[in-house]
Symmetry: C2
Subunit: 701 residues, 2 copies
């Protein structure tokens, strides 16, 4: 690994690495005599607002007791992770978000930051912690009231009360409002009767349900006085202290999963199970002894979404964990790519280092840029979460913004995790398929992140609907002046895309090569304009397409919406990408060191151009890019990749992973040792004069 | 599942399903009163030339003894698969390719077809069979001579001689020519000394190496008389009958892998291990007792590639197995999507079947079309393989074509397997993550298909180089007439893309809607022209970019090639896609039934348009599609997806899988039963008059 201590600080100048992408390119920034990053400073930047907590968590998980053992049978893995949770309690890892009276320090941001780092030890540990403290515990804390906290939180925190979060049913995942489980109030006994009316209403995929949970926070339709008040949450004991199921509770094991097999996911069903009225977690809706219902939120819809919104931290947490897990895979694959050699270049006997191949740069470096962007956007999300949940900015508007932001970012980071980890594993060939090198395990464990805590497509559809609503709001009751201003903005945008860009390009062309002038036309402002303009227009296009809906029958309106569903989801994705890009850019603006700023700007450009290239057809069809400029995007990406190649090791070293976090033998330096040994063998053989000659050389004689 | 027996045969007419993509769309072809496929006939079509063998293999693996047990610990899984291999021997599955004298029937095509179907039982079984009979056995059969066959083939076939195929080394995977293992001839004793000179030269990732192999076919640099004659293959015993390592042989276990854990992959190293001269598999190169070397192929390069080419069947086999494994995932996900309901449409109380969502059609149906194309292209590949290996068309040119075809198709089908299986698993939400529903296991097992038997990117680069060579050959020594003909063809192409298309569109517009006229401009001939034209131009562009190389130094030439590596790989991918499309189209032309032909034509169109959409930016930048026409591609895909929606179940039923092959509970009809039970519960509750009323309804009062 590069040594941060010996880095040279050079001013940011527009030097190029020689012979872009050639097998003879420099391997380090020092060789390239380029500006280079201040590795330690970039680590601080990536660790973000709660860097201290993250470092503390990383220090803790250097202990092998926290590490995943590859190939461990499911039963043993489950017990090991339970033990790790107890260890976590001992280290104070379970109380950061809790109020002072429960020994916590009421720090929501630090809490999530600390849990996210656990993905480096074992994603099962991260997620089982999330089940216990982020879902089961949070349901009690966020949806319950003082009396519930007093009763159960201490047991949640010290893990004497492990629990399951029983929301999803076999028949209803994304559509929580339609779950079948009922909680019918019986005023005679002042109890709720929790019941599973049919097979599809079994609670399913619940961590802690198959083995370890003693209780569950069960979401059910609250029925009292013959009226269904919608989904509410109930505390339901499920196992006694010996681990036997309580009467009326049925548990099934979900068995082996694609990953996360350290968690005992399972099903729960309830056969007329009675719990005291006390057990309704009643922050947002109360039932009096006589069965009368009350709530401070009169609208059933708003009440439902408020309750779900209180549990947004799962999504926030996955965004961060997916980003860190992806970083680990990139660290491994790029470190290996910087040491592994294969094929000589045809220009000599020396074999070529993988990362010197044009294709290898192309397949990995844009993903590195994307991952960097995610670190910055995640920190923004976490700050917003902390501000709302600390109460500092806890308004309905801020809550809605937070939920939309989480719904926009979590899908992108979790999908990117899978595609990046897969590309990283393939880039390591056969060694990438060995479990010891971590990447296959990361892919298996993180796979479910894309469909749990909100299916990614469903979340993006929510974001899309919010974008549509915001768009419509601009015009709602707008006076003539507002509409005129809007029209003017639109025109300004068009002008900028048309004449504006072209003019800039022309002016710059006077300074030198066409290549450079094209690049100037794709710098920060233009990237932003292209990315933001795309979101704006996609939303406007969907809105226009849906406009006739108001005049249609409900069935026809549904059909019309359905025929634009895929487009709406794409618009939401574009919005999320823009947010990532903006967060990365804001982050760079805060960097004081010039060398760091320069390299990170290249990396941000690579991310921006990578996004633009991905959607190039859209830009062309919508007249946002000329064919000439579009063609230059790919060439610019190639140049950026070559320019960043010497910085790749610095950039993955800046993740700040210690050997105890990486653990993959191929990223340990063993590969370089093997390469060196082999080359030394051939050198010595040649020097000995005893090397066999090649058949070709004797044929020539 | 739809019942093939009651299908109606209707003539192919241009009927549309009502309200494309709407939640009210028909779910079956019968409801849509569309033309529909003859399911049994399509099954025959998909099973292809060796349908009988495939049916026989599928019948055999209905026996649960062949099935993968999810979550089985590695050690037990390895033993189970070994037992399955013995079962296979009993069923005659190991001798199809062998000569009559060894009890075989010399049928190469049937042999691979039979092995490929094993992927449905357990991919570990398919691949371990491939190691034993396709690699180890084939090395003896293809690279050895009569005397070797007599000595070892019987043991290979009856599995009394399990073996490893020791080609790849830790330090050299794709670059086989550079392996470090040496085989030095000692004329004193008439032995070869097999030796591993350094750590990187350990043979690695070899099935049967960690536990079960008694011998290995070891690739090593053949050195005799002080000359290195390049890589040759040697038969080397490694374990005695008690399973102990023989002297000088070192074995290491590769441990847990991302999948295929039923196979005992491991490493082998050799410390001056002596084998008799007899053990050189000497079909393509012989060493006499005195150490003199001879070969009927004088060029070392051609000899090397001839030896490797003799082992092309691994790639052929993976192309078929990946295609069948993908089909299984699509069968499961589409069957589930046709039963699972989630969210009401807003137009009533009935929940919407997943496959009625626009996004769901969009995410799965193009992948179904792609998988169909692969069945047809695989059969072409298998026929070519059979023709060459049976000797019917065994010429150097045909061998080269076969190798190029395999190198083009295997990367596409194996990558498509991973992306399709992943999309299928995500489309099934949480249930898709359960191992019992098969998709996660298929992804884990098939993961390594993209990097073994030739890394996909390396294979595509080989194809790209062949395309460049063929392109250059057109002009080599071309006379004026040839060049003129070529120029004319180019111009004709351009005319066709320009005025030609537009004219056609205009003419058709007279018949009716714009939508239809656009479609006519994207039918078979135009799809072919677009796909083929892209390959042609991409190759021409790379060739033009590389032209200066002849005037450069070797280092500069290598750098120039490297800077176009990614483009060359893309050109090869485009070539592979074209081949798949052409095979699908040829297959449809052979269909007699009009309904089948119509539906499969829609499916082929979906595949073609899906490819064109994927590369839309290229078509726009290169002036092959106008922005208007490009915009219509996406709309046409949406319409095709909606039109094919009622046929989805028929199309996956036509894969011909029995419940014993599918096994996934979510595709068993259990989901429909659960949905029906839930709806019946609510219906009965409503009828009873005891259903709780909604909160909303009492608020209105």
């Amino acid at each position: 690994m590069a040594d941060a201590a010996v880095r040279s600080k050079k001013p940011a100048v527009h030097k190029r690495t020689p012979a872009g992408g050639a097998p003879t390119a420099p391997h380090t920034a020092a060789e390239a005599s380029d500006p280079r990053i201040d590795i330690a400073a970039v680590t601080d930047l990536l660790l973000g607002t709660w860097a201290d907590t993250r470092r503390e968590a990383r220090e803790m998980i250097k202990d092998p007791a926290f590490w995943r053992i590859e190939g461990q049978p499911m039963a043993e893995h489950r017990e090991r992770v339970l033990t790790q949770l107890h260890l976590l309690v001992e280290h104070g890892g379970s109380r950061r978000a809790m109020p002072e009276k429960f020994g916590g320090n009421n720090d929501n941001g630090a809490n999530l930051a600390g849990f996210q780092e656990l993905v480096l030890a074992d994603p099962s540990l991260q997620i089982k912690s999330g089940v216990q403290w982020g879902l089961f515990g949070s349901a009690i804390f966020q949806l319950g009231t003082e009396k519930h906290h007093e009763e159960w939180l201490a047991g949640v925190i010290d893990l004497s009360l492990p629990g399951a979060f029983a929301m999803t049913e076999t028949g209803h995942g994304s559509d929580v409002a339609a779950i079948g489980t009922t909680a019918t109030y019986d005023p005679e006994t002042e109890e709720f009767v929790i019941h599973t009316p049919f097979r599809g209403a079994y609670k399913d995929y619940l961590g802690n349900a198959a083995l370890h949970g003693k209780a569950a926070t069960v979401f059910a339709q609250l029925i009292t006085g013959g009226v269904n008040y919608g989904v509410h949450c109930f505390f339901v004991p499920i196992r006694d202290d010996e681990g036997s199921m309580l009467p009326g509770i049925i548990s099934e094991d979900d068995g082996v999963k694609g990953g996360l097999n350290g968690i005992d996911n399972g099903r729960l069903a309830f056969d007329q199970v009675r719990v005291p009225r006390f057990n309704l977690l009643d922050r947002y809706g109360q039932v009096a002894a006589d069965g009368s219902y009350s709530s401070e939120i009169p609208s059933p819809g708003r009440r439902f979404f408020t309750m779900l919104g209180a549990l947004v931290q799962g999504r926030v947490s996955l965004d961060g964990a997916a980003t860190t897990g992806t970083a680990l895979a990139l660290h491994i694959a790029l470190t290996y790519a910087n040491q592994r050699r294969q094929f000589d270049s045809g220009a000599g006997t020396e074999e070529v280092v993988l990362l010197d191949y044009g294709k290898h740069q192309r397949r990995l470096l844009p993903l590195l840029a994307q991952n960097y962007a995610q670190f910055f956007s995640h920190d923004e999300l976490l700050k917003k979460f902390d501000a709302v949940f600390s109460g500092r900015t806890d308004t309905p508007e801020e809550r809605e913004d937070l939920e939309t932001l989480a719904a926009a970012l979590k899908p992108l980071s979790t999908w990117n995790a899978l595609s990046t980890i897969q590309e990283a594993r393939e880039a390591c060939g056969g060694s990438g398929f060995l479990a010891e090198n971590r990447m296959v395990g990361l892919h298996q464990d993180l796979d479910v992140y894309v469909t749990f805590e909100g299916d990614n497509n469903v979340l993006l559809q929510l974001v899309g609907k919010r974008l549509l609503a915001d768009y419509a709001r601009q015009f709602k009751g707008a006076d003539a002046a507002t509409l005129a201003r809007y029209a003017a903005r639109q025109t300004a945008g068009k002008l900028f895309h048309g004449a504006g860009l072209r003019q800039l390009g022309q002016a710059v062309a006077d300074f030198g090569s066409t290549a450079r002038s094209v690049e100037f036309g794709l710098r920060e402002d233009q990237q932003h304009e292209l990315l933001a303009g795309r979101v704006q227009q996609m939303v406007a296009d969907v809105a226009a397409a849906l406009r006739p809906a108001s005049k249609l029958s409900p069935a026809e309106a549904a059909a019309l919406f359905n025929s634009h569903q895929a487009e709406l989801i794409e618009a939401a994705r574009a919005h999320g990408e823009l947010l990532q890009w903006e967060a990365f850019t804001d982050g760079i603006h805060r960097v004081p060191d010039e060398g760091t700023k320069q390299v990170l700007t290249w990396l941000r450009d690579l991310f921006g151009l990578h996004l633009i290239e991905k959607h190039l057809a859209w830009y062309l069809i919508n007249g946002r890019l000329s064919t000439q400029r579009a063609a230059s995007v790919t060439r610019y990406i190639d140049r950026l990749a070559a320019r960043l190649r010497p910085h790749a090791q610095d950039l993955v070293d800046a993740y700040g992973f210690a050997p105890e976090h990486v653990r993959a033998p191929i990223a340990s330096g063993a590969e370089r040792e093997r390469q060196d040994e082999a080359r030394e063998y051939y050198r010595a053989l040649a020097a000995s004069g005893e090397a066999p000659v090649s058949e070709k050389s004797i044929k020539k004689k």
